[in-house]
Symmetry: C2
Subunit: 162 residues, 2 copies
DNA sequence: TATTGTTATACTCTATAACTATA
DNA sequence: TATAGTTATAGAGTATAACAATA
């Protein structure tokens, strides 16, 4: 079975040209928000490139990984966890369903809800995709020592979990 | 002169409900990309709220601040610095021009280019807005010691400057 | 009466192609 | 021939309102 590999275009952030290098960014670089956004965009760019072989965007990967580690999770829980609005989750789940990666089954106790479960293909893809994400993150975290990498994640969690 | 204050809606990330709290996010939270994106979104949310009094989104603020610290900067330099594509910058600059915050003047040496300069109103707004951003960042960085805050920014810069 | 999943829809953000004026 | 600024436009992402089925 062949599956079309979706491609994701993304602005190729112009490499710092002579002009850009001359720009004073001192103030912006003193801001947590600016630095966090720039770092996040850098990681996303690498993610898009390396994960294109699976046809998974960050949101698709996060969704599948959550279903893998929380079989039977509902759309509502997914929305709350990933910060996605319910109407926007419908197509995401429907598309992954069409690709044969997950299934919607009746919820055991709540007749309104549907529990999400990975298919065999879905489990295989998540296993491989999670390994690729680890490799890709090893690459972007290369300038950091293992200790610094842990510190960085700990500090980031302090920001969004307060 | 009255100026309409633009409002920016943003998804009010559902606070961790009982349901969401039960979701296992261990794997995602072990990823740099996930943590960086979540932290960036948290800061943006606070930014949108506190900066709405100026009618400035993050991109507007970054643009104005760069012009303030780099008088005469060109659109092309802004694009390279902020990772914006030239066609998308046109309306941003035009709108700030219409609001009387900046002006486009002929470039002294390049007839094709236009140098951007803040107006008196623009300089006043940037001064106040930068102070507000400092305050707002003090808030989001409250769970961190001053040393941790510096370490966090240093590590983030290592990620996107490699 | 509230919640789950859904449809329809609108608005914003990001991207590509192509034009003009100038280098 | 290449670059700065621009126009038009398409696609992706994110938002609100409202509905049927179920709690």
């Amino acid at each position: 079975m062949t599956r079309r590999i979706r491609t994701f275009s993304r602005q190729t952030a112009d490499l710092p040209s002579r002009e850009a290098a001359a720009v004073d960014t001192t103030f912006l670089e003193s801001l947590l928000g600016y630095n966090a956004r720039r770092a996040a965009l850098t990681i996303i760019e690498v993610f898009l490139d390396r994960m294109s072989i699976y046809g998974l965007r960050p949101v698709d990967f996060s969704l599948l990984s959550l279903v893998a580690h929380n079989p039977g999770i509902t759309s509502r829980q997914l929305c709350a966890t990933l910060g996605i609005l319910p109407p926007n989750l419908v197509k995401l789940v429907a598309d992954l369903d069409k690709r044969g990666l997950l299934q919607r089954k009746p919820h055991p106790t709540d007749g309104r809800a549907l529990g999400l479960h990975l298919t065999v293909d879905g489990r295989k893809m998540v296993r491989e995709a999670e390994a690729t994400v680890r490799e890709l993150e090893d690459g972007v975290a290369a300038p950091l020592t293992p200790e610094e990498r842990e510190i960085l994640m700990t500090l980031l969690r302090k920001i969004y979990k307060q």
